[in-house]
Amino acid sequence: METTQKIMTEEERQAHIAHFLKRWKEEKHQTEEEARQRFQSSEGQAILKELRRKNAERGIIISEL
């Protein structure tokens, strides 16, 4: 596999950044939505319950919603 690339021109650089940011914005929204759905799921709530228990063992009391 390659570990080097040719030096990009200014136009190539701008195009690469534009492509990167476009994909980043699309995936960012999807990632946030997945996280919120996970929070609302029974599995997500079970994870948080377990974390509250572990925190409580260390004296960090997080009350339930």
Partner: protein
């Protein structure tokens, strides 16, 4: 960052995994966060060998039951640092890019906050700061973070400089 922030014990966290390598934790104010390391091979192009170790790091506020912004919480920075370290411990060749979201105009605030965390928890990491600028003038501060001993360190730095056209390096 205040000294007590450094000594504050972190919250318990859990690695959820999945395709985006998610971690989660909850604060004393019942605010829930996910820390995500999303594979981002398209940063360097998929022909670069280290592309498969390149991830975008993001902090997602998943749920805030308060009717206002969460207050300063001294346990959050060490929690994020512990998660960061955990992820790198499992994959030492990891390269992380952090992009400060500019959609609400608070990118400079996010950058400063991230820099403060990094300054105190950098250990053996190196960070390269730069920015991505859109044609409409929107400015996104970005940081690339990798282990000092990453075997592709020089190639990664050179390729990142190629993409952004120059950088500032902090260690």
């Amino acid at each position: 960052m205040q000294k007590e922030e450094l000594s504050s014990p972190n919250y318990e966290f859990r690695f959820i995994g999945g395709s985006k390598n998610s971690y989660t934790f909850q604060t004393i104010n019942q605010v829930t966060y996910e820390i995500v390391f999303k594979p981002t091979p398209y940063l360097f192009g998929e022909s670069a060998i280290f592309s498969y170790f390149t991830y975008e790091f993001s902090i997602i506020l998943v749920n805030n039951p308060m009717d206002r912004e969460p207050p300063v919480d001294l346990k959050i920075p060490p929690t994020i640092a512990a998660i960061f370290t955990d992820f790198f411990n499992n994959a030492a060749d990891t390269v992380v890019i952090y992009i400060c979201d500019s959609s609400d105009g608070r990118q400079v605030f996010r950058k400063r906050k991230f820099d403060r965390w990094f300054e105190h928890y950098k250990y053996s990491f190196i960070k390269i700061d730069s920015s991505f600028d859109e044609a409409d003038g929107t400015h996104y501060p970005v940081s690339l973070i990798l282990k000092e001993r990453n075997p592709f360190r020089n190639e990664i730095c050179a390729q990142f400089m190629n993409i952004v056209g120059g950088f500032n390096q902090n260690k």
